[in-house]
Symmetry: none
Subunit: 191 residues, 4 copies
């Protein structure tokens, strides 16, 4: 196995175990077993468990930014861009339920809170696209004049909840349901 492959296998294993059982239900011994490496090998690639989880998160974040950015209609109206972003997110999450569950676990851990705070406090990351979109929406007066945080909540709150319900089998998000849900979100934030 190549070096990069091994690193990747460890991240995959961590991803899956954390997604299924949470941070504390994913002992390093289990991660190493699932990745097919020895216990100590993980520490050749990651300083400690926290770092492993953070880097797994970073890896996912990259993929999501990629997903959302791809074919982003930067020159279309705000509404259309919003719907694009929402749909990209929902489709990505639905297609990668493990990733989705991992992200939920991460966001709900101390790391996640800290991470959000950092990002919020200015150290931007891939979220700039969201910020720009909403700021433009407000300044063009097509969105309600609410704090960004509230607009985010009105948009991503339902999206994440809806995806969770889908992943848990409480609803099946087909194409029409996805678009109707996103339209409803738009109704929530639009003027």
């Amino acid at each position: 196995m190549e070096k990069a492959d091994k690193r990747c296998a460890i991240i995959r294993a961590a991803l899956e175990l954390v997604a299924e059982h949470g941070f504390h239900g994913a002992p390093m011994s289990m991660v190493s077993e699932k990745a097919g490496v020895a216990a100590g090998t993980i520490y050749c690639y990651f300083d400690n468990k926290e770092t492993l989880i953070r880097e797994t998160y970073g890896y996912l974040e990259g993929r999501i930014v990629e997903t959302v950015t791809k074919r982003y209609p930067g020159d279309r109206p705000v509404r259309e861009r919003f719907l694009h972003v929402g749909e990209a997110l929902i489709r990505y999450y639905i297609g990668s339920p493990l990733e989705f569950r991992f992200l939920e676990q991460f966001h709900n851990s101390p790391f996640g809170v800290e991470h959000r705070r950092d990002k919020f406090m200015g150290k931007r990351g891939g979220c700039d696209i969201f910020r720009e979109l909403f700021e433009e929406g407000v300044s063009q007066q097509v969105m309600k004049d609410l704090p960004l945080v509230i607009l985010f909540a009105l948009s991503f709150g339902p999206i994440l909840t809806v995806v969770r319900d889908h992943v848990l089998g409480f609803v099946i998000l087909d194409n029409t349901l996805i678009s109707r849900t996103l339209e409803a979100c738009w109704d929530g934030i639009r003027r």
Copy 2:
């Protein structure tokens, strides 16, 4: 100390510790210490840690139902009832950040998922009032004709997100912001 008091003290201690440090940051020994009882005593009242956490959750659920039900304007229009429920929830959570944090921890644990599944699959609980409200909203054609799960997501997704942001200090929810947020939620679900 009375028997009921002791039981209650244990639940309070569990609540606070889980809220502050998460499930795995709340060892039984710490719970017993905070509750002012011996380590073994907890097991006189609860079979094991899982049960303790579940019952703590049940206790909170009861209080929330109480909160939402109190002064519930059952004879007023759907919109008004929705706003009442939403405001009751937000105010309760904001006034009881510990409870809110506990609930978030619980919902994001394996227990939480299982719990939601049980409730969804028919074993109702205190959520009937929500269900009734939304079913009526749909049948009266004042709400969008979407699955209940989606309407829940459009309503409680933003509410919980917004409260979390408040608790973490990313925004301050004053009276006007609360009502404007709830109006926006209503825009999302109304026809």
Copy 3:
């Protein structure tokens, strides 16, 4: 087994294992096994390994002070008192080779150095009797006018070395050899 007995058994086990194999050759698992308790039990009595070792040291220090103090001829000339102290030390160490080895290990560990520094810097302990003796010796002009540290080295350096040689079997310290060695030490420090 009584509570105090268990604590004592753990200290004995730590003492023996550290004496024989050094700090790092005395894993907690071995200590617990030797003490006849479970691994976790040690932590009911001591915060961590460091504390266990420190308290073991403290226990020994107490016994030594006791030994040296007992029948200490406080009203006799400095020389006589010096010989009493030296002989008490040598006899104690020879009679308790395990204790002696432990002390050597301790003194040579980071803890030991720190401990000496603390004591030296003013936080006195049981060594006051030594300090008094030597200060009086200097002021009465029966000892050389050298810094206390040097006088200590001239006295305890040989004593500890000689005991070590005895314990390792390089020499057998009988009564005459003990007293002749102490006389030689006295020759080293006396005016």
Copy 4:
């Protein structure tokens, strides 16, 4: 890099790390890093960690013998030779605190004890010069008629202790203090 250079670099690295952090604070990986070689390379030169430490000790022993032997006034009286040896040792140790700390660590490890035993039991090493000096001192009746081991203890016990105190900063050994200390040692062993 030459083969001999590499070997030497490894020994230097081991020496420094053991001196600073003790045997167990000097992992092979750290030694290799400090020496500027790969982890596995050490095993081209030394069978295992124990061997590395032993050979590091041997290297130091050689340097010390060299130091003590240089300008050794073999034709001068015993007293003078003793003072030369003592001063050479003290000056060497003080000038090479790392070496001194390593030696202390070594002497206090299981290896050290075994090493002393071997040497004592006949497999002589560089200590012959000491042995000769003291044997001559005794036979000329300028030294006390005590076993060699005791005379060694009376000489080197204080010397090592005094140097340790200097290295730890408890005293500063200037020229006069060195010579006065050595005179005191001589008082201890002389007739």
